[in-house]
Symmetry: C2
Subunit: 190 residues, 2 copies
Amino acid sequence: MDIFKAHLDKFITVSDDEFTSIISFFQILETEKKENIMLEGEICKFKYFVLEGCLRKFFVNEKGVEQTTEFAIENWWLADTFAYERQEKSNFNIQSVERSRLLIIDLHSQELLLEKHPIMERYFRMIYQRAYAAAEKRIRYIYEMTKEEYYVHFSTLYPWFIQRIPQYLIASFLGFTPEYLSEIRAKLRS
Amino acid sequence: MDIFKAHLDKFITVSDDEFTSIISFFQILETEKKENIMLEGEICKFKYFVLEGCLRKFFVNEKGVEQTTEFAIENWWLADTFAYERQEKSNFNIQSVERSRLLIIDLHSQELLLEKHPIMERYFRMIYQRAYAAAEKRIRYIYEMTKEEYYVHFSTLYPWFIQRIPQYLIASFLGFTPEYLSEIRAKLRS
């Protein structure tokens, strides 16, 4: 749990006793590589915090191709936020990219947590504020850059990320075929 | 201020006295149609809540074309969230689409507000959570739909919005030329 404590410390101040109480509202989930955590058509019961490993969120498009819209590595949250807030069926899938260790919380436990520890409102406000700011940036990139430019931008900013994630998933995130991604990578190397 | 009180009531419970104190941390800004509120290269000092009117956020792309990325009408917030949080120079512009009446708050006043009224952490957490959920949906639409499909989707869900906003700004939001948007509209009518 030290990972989550260190993460919280970046946003709010909680004593060790408070932290012990806070953490009791969460559960631990351990997943295998490629394990499906949430399937399209299921209620989005939980949101997921990555202690160790990597998750992705995707949907299956009209052509039957998996389109990844988000990744989450250590210290990131992942959920279908819209479906989680309303406890509705999701039209996304969530899957482990790597063997992972997750902290999960359901909406009811979250409400109890926020009631007992209002300081966590501040924490989640900051988390959503940052997530929203990142989404605003991403929408701008989508308008501004071709997918090739976005890949170059992305791999320049996050080379360690590109190393870590299987190439076919990077392709699925960018909306490329794996073959097309190989071509771009070859072009960039030359 | 009744508009903002009614808006807050949807998320949190505050007494009239609390509300009087809360509102004292904000300022009112009245703007003319097409007035620039924030320019690219300026620090994003404020975030803006629309009491009456309409704002848009845009950037100027490489070709010198204004690309609108967001609109805000009554009861919506608008800012360059990333630049606001860090008090950095923005690379967006914010402009009044209509003559508007805004509630604005700077980061320092916001911190004082949150210190004095921690219930506002809950309010802003919910606001950012919804904004993030909407951005997740929008990113999926961008992956899933052609711009023509997005226009049809958008104008079916929000016909009153399409009526209200000048056509050249709808085109600027969709990344169309105004001429192309006219063509699509003609095709849809026939």
